[in-house]
């Protein structure tokens, strides 16, 4: 019966490393048994009482325990975590709520398989600014602008550290350069009654943009019939609606809108796409009695209303 006695700890090793584990204070030539996640390890991996793991890989992460041969006392236990040092993190900073502040978000280009810690520093001139970390997502933080219209660049440095190494990325940018609104919201497109070539499009400023009156947005509308690949574009310097007047009659359209601060920064991503088809005249199913007599006298009409058609034309009152 195995007795747990020895303190266990976590041991981090790089993928591909050779790992040697001693059985706590036991001599080299002591009789011991090693287990990995509770399974005995065969002697081929032992050098005396030392456990030798060659060119470890991710699958060899786990709990390793060493028991004294006769008493089965646990003499050593460790949790082996096989991983890699962090690569240079990818960092992006953006202001989607100008002029309130900006956020930075980051991620690692590839997993490390072991825990990482992130530290971000934001320097503006000689001043270090606080980046308030979001609870969720964990890889994002916010900075409030203390100054506006500054020619001094911002310098953001993100350092990622784990037990096997450290890496960092630095971004330097101007205040205006990172301003990028969120896409417009509540985009709606509607046909215009009695206008077979018009579509009325409306939208709202992104709710994240705090003061559209003092910091107005301009918009870019793109639209095309589903049957074509070529978009048509129109830029609108103010207002949150537009009437498309050159739509192909009867064709379903796909429409998107983007936004940009009137004076600085870059365009938002495209909004969610909406679909609409211009107004079309109601097909006339029934022709009145007069028209029937006319058609029979002038030509042998090919149109024969199907016996089930419900005659709905109020004026003529023909058959119902």
């Amino acid at each position: 019966q195995r007795h747990s006695q020895q303190d266990s700890h976590i041991q981090y090793e790089r993928v591909g490393a050779d790992v040697t584990m001693k059985c706590g204070s036991m001599d080299w030539d002591a009789a011991v048994t090693w287990t990995a996640n509770g399974t005995d390890i065969d002697d081929s991996h032992l050098n005396g009482s030392y456990l030798i793991l060659k060119n470890v890989d991710l699958t060899q992460s786990g709990q390793y325990s060493c028991y004294e041969g006769s008493s089965w006392h646990l003499k050593y236990q460790t949790y082996l975590r096989v991983g890699v040092p962090p690569k240079e993190p990818l960092l992006t900073c953006r202001s989607n709520n100008y002029p309130k502040g900006f956020y930075c978000v980051w991620h690692l280009p590839s997993p490390t398989y072991i825990p990482n810690s992130f530290n971000i520093s934001v320097i503006h001139g000689t001043r270090e600014m606080v980046c308030e970390k979001d609870i969720f997502p964990k890889n994002r933080c916010h900075i409030r602008y203390l100054q506006l219209f500054s020619t001094v660049k911002y310098k953001v440095t993100l350092t990622v550290t784990n037990a096997l190494g450290k890496s960092s990325t630095t971004l330097t940018f101007d205040e205006f350069a990172i301003v990028k609104p969120d896409p417009p919201e509540f985009v709606v497109a509607k046909p215009v009654p009695n206008n077979p070539r018009r579509l009325e499009v409306s939208w709202q400023n992104p709710s994240s943009w705090p003061d559209p009156e003092s910091f107005p947005l301009k918009f870019f509308l793109r639209y095309r019939p589903l049957i074509l690949d070529q978009w048509q574009h129109v830029e609108l310097s103010d207002g949150t609606s537009h009437t498309i007047t050159d739509a192909y009659a009867g064709k379903e359209y796909i429409i998107q809108v983007a936004a940009k601060d009137n004076d600085i920064g870059t365009w938002s991503d495209w909004s969610v796409a909406v679909h609409a088809t211009p107004w079309t005249e109601e097909p006339k199913h029934l022709t009145t009695e007069v028209q029937i007599t006319e058609t029979t006298s002038t030509s042998t009409s090919s149109f024969m209303p199907p016996p089930t058609t419900k005659i709905c034309d109020k004026g003529a009152g023909v058959g119902s």
Binding site: S150, T151, P210, D211, P216
Partner: protein
């Protein structure tokens, strides 16, 4: 002179603000073009960072959203009066350096100087409308620049143009705030705290 809050004053105020916004946006676009020409003609690296330059009004503003309308106008006026002198100095230096051979930088500088002067006048009109009157010009002349090496002179010019470009954007924002609240609005024109 019409009191600050009569209908005609309000209309005039709105007109001055919207014309001022258009002028500031045009000025910003021309200053951005001028910056490109300047960097190229002066053989500078566009990404070079320039420390704050003495005598050049910094556009950076803290608690900008809390400024009153009058504060905005006074800050703007002081800045553009200073830029007027700075650009005149630059034009003079540029002529000494490059003479008439330069058919691009000089005219571009002169055009921006003209816009800065026009905008300064515009701000003075707005201040008149605020029944406050524009402060006298004395004392707003920036100190004569210290004797600088040619390279230092070029860097200083770059600093001036960069700050002016930022000021032009700030002025657009300031005038929008003013337009929002009408003449004689000494109150702080804050940013809505909705978000």
């Amino acid at each position: 002179m019409a009191a600050a809050d009569t209908p005609s004053a309000t209309l005039r105020h709105h007109d001055l603000c919207s014309r001022g916004i258009r002028l500031a946006r045009k000025m910003r676009s021309d200053v951005t073009d001028l910056l490109d020409i300047y960097v190229q003609r002066q053989g500078l690296d566009a990404s070079i960072s320039v420390a704050a330059v003495d005598g050049v009004p910094a556009a950076a503003a803290e608690r900008w959203a809390e400024q009153t309308g009058t504060q905005r106008l006074l800050d703007n006026l002081a800045a553009y009066r200073a830029f007027r002198s700075l650009l005149a100095q630059m034009l003079e230096e540029q002529r000494e350096q490059l003479g008439d051979a330069d058919a691009e930088l000089g005219p571009a500088l002169a055009a921006v100087l003209l816009q800065v002067s026009a905008f300064t006048y515009h701000l003075e009109e707005l201040l008149e409308l605020e029944s406050r009157g524009a402060p006298a010009e004395e004392g707003s002349e920036p100190p004569a620049p210290p004797r600088l090496s040619l390279f230092e002179q070029k860097l200083r010019g770059l600093g001036v143009l960069r700050e002016l470009a930022q000021w032009a954007v700030r002025s657009v924002r300031d005038l929008r705030q003013l337009a929002k609240h009408g003449p004689g609005s000494g109150a702080a024109l804050g940013l809505p705290e909705s978000q």
